[in-house]
Symmetry: C2
Subunit: 361 residues, 2 copies
């Protein structure tokens, strides 16, 4: 066993883009967050206005000012695997920060850390949550663990997740469900194919359903969500001379937050009712919740026009806890997980000042 | 290295069903034919009217009587892997021989061995060919090797292959060609599927072509061949949250002997011209050749109504050597390679007496 590495000194009071770089340059691929969690914990403990709690590789810091409202500001500290894109580098003109984590989501984590250190007396009590293992299977997710083991730590009237949104408010998130649609036939030698029944040929009708499907755009709480129904995998075949008796199409449904998981499944079963359908995994959608007064106030304070979140984020977890939640963070989400992940420095600063405006209003 | 096993004594003059059992009970999965080849060679060498030649695990025996015609009688001595179905067993009423190789094709081999031993002065000179590795890739096929290295050994006016035909003459064989048909698209996150283009969905049109295809029945030299065009494999998909940019359908075309390989390929390219098409493997068809006088005489002598051969056999190899060839052997070809492979004892005897009738007429 090797000695744990000493925490990296993080300057929470300085430039937030520099803080983002420093956080990115501590490699923290999911499962390997010990050092970054230690470093965050040590930096936050320097501020007496914060109560700091450590739970596994989650770090929680909160103000206890007796305010009428409490909000959560949260971000995950892990990244997807490094693709030869660390340490970070700045573009020659200094406007773009490149490297793993710059978008997803060390920028949002840096903004939260800067707020925690710099806003000593916010207008609302704040619970900052820095958590591990967001980029891997849901059972390992640090925020999920806290919600099961210490739900009182997450109690709040509203939550802001610093996931990349190009610094505009994105409300709620799509749900996702994956199903296997299986066709069956009868195996036979392909030289006497008329003695069998071809399961791959039958999958043509499944693909027809997908090709004919009109994905809907659905307005929920004032935001328009665009759905999608897609084959993301297909497999069938026994041998090059055998009529296949089985073909499986893996279908991914991304659905708007007007539907529960049960409703999403019922929709898929009505589409593919003719076939054997098995749900392989699912995560619920989250309503944007922008109708809640606390959310509306947030939107007014940070400015801009809110949009819907495509893709799934942990706002859905807050949603299931009954806490309205939005995504708001620096970086273009389309660049998350890409080898050329990069974030405009200006967006990091913009997010920090918008949130500071809200918390000091 | 272990000592080679001593040859098994084979009684070529006794009961042909017992000989079939003895041959089956020498396991000889492709690549493991040394012992059965040794046993066959030793048994044949006991007959002074035969010239016996050994070539690898092929054994050739021939009469040299200066007859006007020479015919080949051939059979492969390997089997597909054993499925807990050896040693052989007889049905309680003694009519059915069960086990690996009973159909494909130790029965046909036993018939040829019995003829070789018992018909000392046939009306036509005969070259008996017992060869290895028919059940595996064509490059290992013993008959193919002989045709390349010692083609003079195969020279003949006509050939009978003892492949299972339920003891009726089956002429020629279908050709087979496999192609990969590939569709391409653009990868994207499945939460924003409209930014990509789904290659699996596009494969629906490929399956439509297969579903709409009307396989033809084609008469060649008086026999009706039924063609087939089938997907035998399909694969596509990158990850559960990615719109796939590639999908491959493996298609097997079984075609009548009115077409060359080039014509078969041109037909497939005309059907799937819109897609990337790659031929992965192909074997030519063989015309039944029953119009040749030597073949017509054979059919008259053995009796019955000839049918077409579905599936591919080594008659196609004789066909490419310019030698008319037919399949004629005991056992139902639909049971070849099956775990419950089994052959009526009566068919083994029937094939032997039919061929003896022909060779002693």
């Amino acid at each position: 066993m090797t000695e744990p590495a000493a925490p990296v000194k993080l300057d929470l009071a300085g430039d937030v883009a520099e803080l983002t770089r420093a956080l990115c340059d501590i490699p923290s691929v999911s499962g390997d967050e010990l050092l970054i969690a230690d470093s965050i914990q040590e930096a936050l403990q320097a501020y007496p206005h914060l109560e700091v709690i450590r739970d596994g590789n989650c770090v929680i810091a909160r103000t206890n000012l007796g305010r009428a409202e409490r909000v959560v500001i949260a971000g995950h500290i892990d990244t997807v695997p490094i693709a030869d894109n660390l340490p970070t580098w700045l573009s020659p003109d200094g406007t773009m920060l490149h490297g793993r984590g710059t978008v997803d989501m060390k920028g949002g984590v840096a903004v939260a850390l800067a707020l925690a250190a710099q806003v000593e007396a916010p207008s609302r009590d704040i619970t900052y949550v820095f958590y591990d293992c967001e980029e891997v299977e849901a059972t390992r997710n640090g925020l999920g663990r806290l919600s099961r083991t210490r739900p009182e730590l997450l109690q709040a009237d509203f939550a802001v997740l610093g996931e990349p949104t190009s610094a505009v408010v994105e409300g709620g998130c799509q749900g996702t469900m994956r199903i296997e649609v299986e066709t069956t036939g009868t195996a036979a030698h392909s030289a006497r194919s008329w003695m069998g029944s071809n399961a791959i040929h039958k999958a043509g009708a499944v693909l027809d359903i997908l090709n004919e499907y009109q994905a809907r755009e659905i307005e929920v709480d004032g935001l328009v969500y665009r759905e999608g129904l897609n084959a993301v995998g297909i497999s069938g075949g026994i041998a090059g001379n055998v009529i296949p008796d089985r073909c499986t199409v893996l279908v991914n449904y991304r659905f708007a937050p007007d539907k529960t998981l049960d409703e999403a499944e019922a929709h898929l079963r009505s589409l593919f009712g003719e076939y054997a359908v098995k749900v392989t995994d699912a995560s619920p959608a989250a309503r944007p919740g922008l109708n809640a007064p606390v959310a509306a106030e947030f939107v007014r304070a940070v400015g801009g026009t809110p949009g819907p979140k495509f893709g799934w984020t942990d706002v859905a977890l807050f949603s299931t806890l009954g806490i309205p939640a939005v995504n708001f963070g620096p970086g273009n989400p389309s660049l998350a997980h890409k080898d050329d992940e990069q974030c405009p420095v200006s967006e990091i600063a913009a997010c920090l000042s918008a949130l500071r405006r809200w918390l000091t209003a």
